[in-house]
């Protein structure tokens, strides 16, 4: 098990290293950089002072150095917690994204939690009562959830949240709290504002997850070992939970790794529409303006999230599935 873990973590670090090279390369692909566009602008305006500042920055971040060296500077800074400097905002990246990162993490964590908390019981229920009325109704609603465009749903829900509960439209908290210290009121406002985005971002994932769990469970319920369990005299409930669910859990868990990045990237459009102060919209603008360190940090953040999600699901799988735990070592 320890060897398995060590192997997984080593693979994870290797993957991250490769991703960092890719991210850096892709950001550098378009001709020029943020500074060259700025210089061009300033020159046109006849500024000279700014040019010195630009030269200072160029020197500081080694933009005149060869690319591999730039990459190394960037990556080594990353490891030490120095994410670089956002040219667009004129502040260090860490400062720019700090709060947003926190809110993004909260939003996504709650969304994933929502997906699992809803889809797990519903999935089990519809599988146990398959081909019944509830199954068909919920499956229909699920497909509806998959098919509805997120932004449409967002607008409708926002309208109702505002008219029925008086929650301010957009954002993740009441505008009064922005920039304030964290108080109970601010937290409450955050929680109230989280509901709509979480539902909107999570609904399609939930529907997909319910369908998947249902299909897996129905598959498992037809396996010979289920007949064995029945022949042993076990009740249906115990067969469902002890045997079928146990096997059907595997895909459920291995999805954690896929779900995280999906939710994060899926939330970009919704965040833009609902003007959520998350990282999504900022990533979009930073990519457009070639604000390389900001964009790079975001992309790496996504990558770390994905890889960590994979690691978590791998470990969870090894814990619940002896075929992975034992099979790997001996077979």
């Amino acid at each position: 098990m320890i060897r398995y873990l060590a192997g997984r973590i080593a693979t994870m670090l290797g993957t991250l290293a490769v991703i960092s090279v890719l991210v850096f390369t892709i950001i550098q692909l378009p001709p020029g950089d943020y500074l060259s566009t700025t210089i061009a602008e300033l020159r046109a305006e006849g500024e000279t002072q700014a040019e010195e500042k630009v030269a200072f920055l160029r020197d500081l971040y080694g933009l005149d150095k060869p690319l591999p060296l730039q990459y190394l500077t960037w990556v080594s800074g990353f490891v030490q917690g120095d994410f670089g400097y956002s040219f667009e905002y004129g502040r260090p990246v860490a400062e720019v994204i700090g709060d947003r990162l926190f809110l993004t993490l909260i939003l996504n964590f709650v969304t994933v939690l929502f997906i699992y908390l809803v889809s797990f019981p519903v999935g089990i229920y519809v599988a146990a009562r398959r081909y019944g009325q509830v199954d068909y109704t919920l499956s229909f609603l699920g497909y509806l959830g998959l098919a509805t465009p997120n932004f449409l749903l967002a607008l409708i829900l926002l309208y109702f949240a505002n008219t029925l509960f008086g929650i301010s439209v957009g954002g993740l908290m009441d505008p009064d709290y922005t920039g304030e210290a964290w108080t109970a009121g601010k937290m409450g406002s955050l929680a109230a504002h989280l509901v709509v985005p979480v539902v909107v971002i999570g609904i399609s994932g939930t529907a997909a997850m319910i369908q998947r769990l249902r299909a897996n469970l129905i598959d498992e319920l037809q396996k010979p070992y289920i007949v064995t369990a029945r022949a042993k005299g076990l009740g249906e409930r115990r067969i469902l939970f002890k045997y079928a669910l146990r096997s059907a859990l595997n895909p459920f868990i291995s999805d954690i790794g896929d779900l995280l990045p999906q939710v994060v990237s899926g939330s970009v459009i919704v965040s833009a529409i609902m003007s959520l102060p998350t990282t999504g919209p900022m990533l979009l603008s930073s990519l457009r303006s070639q604000d390389m360190y900001l964009a790079g940090s975001f992309l790496m953040f996504l990558a770390v999230l994905t890889v960590v999600g994979m690691l978590v699901s791998d470990i969870a799988l090894a814990l619940i599935d002896p075929r992975i735990r034992i099979g790997r070592g001996t077979a």
Partner: protein, 645 residues
Amino acid sequence: MSDLLTVEGLTIEFRTPAGTVRAANELSFRVPAGRTVAIVGESGSGKSVTGLAILGLLPKVAAVLGGRILFRDPAAPSGAPPIDLASLKRDSHVFRSIRGDRIAMIFQDPTAALSPLHTIGDQIGEALRIHRGVEAGEARGASIELLGEVGFADPERAFDTYSFELSGGLCQRAMIAMAMICRPALIIADEPTTALDVTVQAEIMQLLNRLQAEHGTAILLIAHDLGVVANMAHEMVVVHHGEAMERGTAADLFADPRHPYLKALLHAVPRLGMNRAERLKPLREIRVDPAAASRTARDRAKGSMQTSVAAGDVFLKVRGITKSFAASQDRRWLAAAPQRALAVRDVSFDIRRGECLGLVGESGCGKTTLSKILVRSEATDVGTVEMIDAGATTDVLALSGEALRQWRRRVQYVFQNPYSALNPRMTVGAILDEPLAIHGLGDERWRRHRVKELLHLVGLDSTHLNRYPHGFSGGQRQRIGIARALALEPELIIFDEPVSALDVSVQAQILNLLRDLREALGLTYLFISHNLGVVDYLADRIAVMAAGRLVEIAPREALFCKPRHPYTQALIAAIPEPDPDRRLDFARLRRDRSSDPASWPWPFGPSDGGEEPHLLDLGGGHYARSFAAPAVDGRVAPALAAVPS
């Protein structure tokens, strides 16, 4: 009225979108306490359905239309009326308390019937926990004791293993332990040995017989193999299309079968040491169309004038073939270098023109790998395969390009599973035409003609040309597979377990067909099977493989009369014969894995230095893998010191 179970007029129907099928029709039989009753029949006869109906485990599409299943539990207070299982609600508490406690079940495929995610100990003890309400610790103790009783060498350790860590035989032992843990009055054993190798099958039969003798458990055996039935059953019911054809004690029925169906079944099974002239009698005989055969044979003579060599000459010379596979699936970059497992180890033999060479061994012994090397679909690590044709020797393993294409024409392959060997999206005509088209033979008209001829050759007719494989039965599909192999007029056809997926009567059809085709077309066969009886029916010489090694090769009479190698002896001793008077000598069966080279005594096993013996000529075309000529003793399967595994 001492019958434990009485089934009266049981009628079961399957209602599917495709229509209604009656799986059991007015079926009646009884199971006396402490005895074994066999339900015998071919696949689709309704025997498994009956077993499931007794325990209320029928799938939802099946409905019991009528009849009673009366269960008199000997543990119930005397005077209590029997319970009609057919009228019980399947989810009811009463039925659940009978299932697994008073009546238990063993299934065909033990590896699939056990959950891979729970330890076998947990699954065995579970029945005890739910029915007796015992503590986990107590259940553990009882399970471990029972695991020892069913033959686990280290029951303590076995308790915590998972099914995927165990062989099929050990899984079945665990299943039996699970069925026995509550000491049921009746065990329903649905084809308990069908998925197992013959030596393991003998062990499982022995175990079931022993447990019955010790605990007085009645067994309802569901089986198609009359050899297994003869070795276990006291009484039997022969079922055909859901109806009981014949009923009686096993001794009577085997000695004097009355019903034509049972007679036919008995005559369809190949027995060891059958006279060469004797033919199996399938329920429906298919004959090779002599006209078609001779026409093809003529074509053949025309096309291959230069290969006019006498039958009996060596055609293929196989020497020292060794092949290893990576044993570990672990290919991650931190993993140690993968271990290699030898699938085939130093195998040498000849195939002579016009002969049928049988290749016998249990699953995983390397026989299929070996055949794949011969057809060049698998590469070998070491060794040579030479073809001798009119005095010229060709290195088969070095062939490439056009020469390799020509080799593929000469050697064809027939697969085990006729259901997956034919492309379901191609018509039969297209399937048979494909090899001709690939090799660019003839024009379209000639090919159409040839395809029809091939169909006639295997007893199908040209109305079948435009149908798809799923419209055919297993036996018919296998005939299509054979016709496809014949299309290119090969010299050698390799059959890899061609009849093991088929029912006995269909098996007899195919075996007769293969015999006739060989005679009519002068073909050479390499016939691979785990079933010695089947091999014996067709083969002139038989080669025996175990653990990747070719341990013995001899003319068939010599192999059966004087088997020299301990593995061959164990194999022959384990074959159940469909004759209750000639039951297996279970006492002589070896408890350990007889295919493990470490268990073979000197001069057969590897030396202390790990050196392996080679094939040794014993005269008369008899070879055994041995360091020295073994003493000839008349005994089959001498009692060898059991080596704990």
